[in-house]
Symmetry: C2
Subunit: 237 residues, 2 copies
Amino acid sequence: MGKNQIPQYKKLYELLRKHILSGVYEEGSFLPSENELCAVHNLTRPTVRHALEALVRDGFISKRKGKGSMVRKPPQDIGILSIAGTISAIGKQYLQTQILQKPKTIAWPTDFHFELTDAEKDFGCIYMERLRFVDEMPVFYDINRIPNINLPRFTSRTFENKSLFDTLRSHYQIEIKGGEQKLKAIKADKKISQLLKIPKGGPVLFLERKLSTNREGFYIYSTIYFNSDKHAIFGVF
Amino acid sequence: MGKNQIPQYKKLYELLRKHILSGVYEEGSFLPSENELCAVHNLTRPTVRHALEALVRDGFISKRKGKGSMVRKPPQDIGILSIAGTISAIGKQYLQTQILQKPKTIAWPTDFHFELTDAEKDFGCIYMERLRFVDEMPVFYDINRIPNINLPRFTSRTFENKSLFDTLRSHYQIEIKGGEQKLKAIKADKKISQLLKIPKGGPVLFLERKLSTNREGFYIYSTIYFNSDKHAIFGVF
DNA sequence: ATTTTTAACTTGTATATACAAGTTGTGTAA
DNA sequence: TTACACAACTTGTATATACAAGTTAAAAAT
């Protein structure tokens, strides 16, 4: 039998996810039962349940014993707290990106906020800055640091309309598996206030993230300044 | 065979969790392999994997194909982003609680930030306020609203040294299953600045949460003001 | 001695099956 | 009509098994 590479449960997950987001399954309605999904897609129940577990984890459905799997309302705000599946960390589709600093190789900061391995220190650090907009208003400014390990031609790529994570996945087979993050509320300094168009000293959400990937010891570090005046950060757990 | 009520995979989860937190399995070391856990606890691999999946979800271990399950460093900061298992939403153990407003029944606010069902509106709302300390410094102030549905004698209970969630679980069999939350950074008004001992206008983390429970249609609503000057909010995903 | 192959581990995916337990509508008995 | 029992659904838990695929170290070949 020909191997399709990507597992069955993930294919079912992506399919149902797409159908929920496109409105085939409306908010508040119920998905077909596990047994129906088995019959339709020719799978066994553990496999179907594996897919549904992922949908629960990412906040697309909620299950209830004896009843079924109810479709949840897709998040209204910007969801960068959870990975939201295998695709991206951003919920809103119409997020626009401006590259402030194209990827360049620099040294790691001397006092970095996460511990680095020797391997990470030895190789350089690919550095880039982006400003992201919703409705043409700046919403967050992020600084990304990626260890320069086996990423040929990375600094010459363009990221204007493509997600950083999409590029990593399609060109380097690097997928985000999870991560950890710290959140604070801080005062905007001059630079941040100008970038995000908020008063100096105003409150800004500040995130430091360390994302783990399917590559051993390969982490992506992000620092994010978020203007929570108009939008909130949303998370499901 | 006598029914033990709580499922096997959850028992194994709680056991391994306890051993990780108490240091039996050190950070960076590997858990016994799935097959070993099967043999030791007389379980099958799907059941053991179910327990390990929960440990991964809550950030206690990370798995790698071909290698094993590595124990992760327990979070240093205050983890109220994820439920962290079945127990509580708070990572730090030495969190102290002061009740500012003992539970009392009031009406729901007219412009509540989450949609309420008719059932929730009809019954009243149990309201309570708490101030929580780490190292004798106020860290966060939270307002909790619980629909007054079938909770006899709730307002006369004491919560000084007991978690709200522990009380709900032990007296009313209500368990938190998950939830959603929104985050913002806001300026401290006079009340918040006095409570959290920060300058007026200083940045404060602001959270609005809706927690779902094992009881149909029963949600707990929390509003949290977090002083992120000394501590950060931590999350794994 | 060095390189390659193999074997023995590990976790990942998948099938097949069974029963427990919560939910809901229907049909029967009061 | 009303109350209750039951059947037919739903998801939850668990067993037993098989093979795929990544990792590692020992064995074999060069």
